[in-house]
Symmetry: C2
Subunit: 193 residues, 2 copies
DNA sequence: TACTATACGGACTGACAGTCCGATTGGGAA
DNA sequence: TTCCCAATCGGACTGTCAGTCCGTATAGTA
């Protein structure tokens, strides 16, 4: 990172950490940027200079948490990477997302609220949606893949994740997502070429 | 409605109509209660006395729009009522919801935003979810019907409806919901694997 | 007409996202 | 090591909005 001052980088991290901490302690609803600034030991202006807006802050936090999955998907190794067959990739990808969502309920909820009614403009969401649409195009070319991808991602809606994991934990969420996916994308041999 | 004063009833209607109008004109995001009060020719206090909160206002508006469907579902006549077989009822119900959603995108979006992170506490949503869960219990007793019902209702998320109807109108939404439903609930006779 | 429970309205409060600008400081140049 | 300034900081300030409060007005009744 040439040209990035040390204090800028330090504050950036402090803000992200503080946000995570406040999310964990208070509900996702009750994290104001004033509170984040105070907790990070930083002025409010700094948050806006770094992240642009409340929305930007939560988008970056989500992107950070999703980075590992992104790299695996962009790489080659199975089951997530380009080296695996589409159905395997799809199931593995959804499973990763389910685990991620279960682990980060508060962040998901806050992110959703912050992106309110622009959900589809979020870079991370778009990436996920594009990936799913691509895979579905290979597996179910007969359907409206764009729509199907949105519905599948709907499985990771904050409220839904909270509801499902409340009774059954992440295990139930992963199982239930897997069931849905296998219903929508039948085993190879039974259907599409 | 015994004991309800005439001015109270009149104002109630004025507020609901003003809200609809502002929703239609400005985006769902940009309807403040001050604006509603002004448009309805009413004090702000009156809105809160009648509806309790912003959330309550939009919940009642949605309930009003959904009343026709509710009555049909609670009644007997096919295809929505108890007189029809479950699969017919399910498909007809989802089709009605799709039509309703397409017709009321702005309201759906505003309602979602107002209920933010308490979506599942909304009486209308609960009613829909209970109904779907019941039908799915008859059709797919092998699955997590509660989850499946939420996913199906996810099809009427404001952003998704906007995205889908933007290219293809309500026709596309209805078709796509129908496809999804028939995939999840196979025709009788073919049964589950 | 008089009377009172009910409803009205809009000023007021508190919270919060986002802006602005004078004060501060990191880090390269001399 | 010292100097300097562009990059960065902080927090006071603004505008907006949901929700509250209470003095005033009125519908409906006797």
């Amino acid at each position: 990172m040439p040209g990035v001052r040390a204090d800028a980088a330090r504050n950036r991290q402090a803000i992200l950490r503080a946000t995570e901490e406040l999310l964990a302690v208070h509900g996702p609803e009750h994290v104001s940027l004033d509170a984040v600034a105070a907790a990070a030991g930083v002025g409010k202006g700094t948050i806006f200079r770094r992240f642009g807006s409340r929305t930007g802050l939560f988008q970056e936090l989500l992107a950070e948490r999703a980075a590992r999955i992104r790299e695996a998907v962009d790489g080659v190794p199975a089951p997530l990477g380009r080296g695996a067959p589409p159905r395997t990739r799809l199931l593995a990808f959804l499973d990763e997302l389910a685990a991620l969502a279960a682990r980060n309920i508060a962040l998901i909820a806050a992110h959703e609220q912050a992106c309110a009614s622009d959900k589809y403009d979020d870079p991370t969401y778009r990436r996920w949606h594009d990936h799913l649409t691509g895979l579905l195009g290979q597996l179910r070319p007969d359907t409206d893949t764009e729509y199907l991808a949105h519905v599948l991602l709907g499985s990771f809606d904050g409220d839904l994740v909270r509801q499902i994991t409340a009774h059954g934990g992440s295990t139930r969420l992963r199982a239930v997502v897997h069931d849905l996916a296998t219903t929508l994308v039948p085993e190879p041999g039974h259907a599409t070429t």
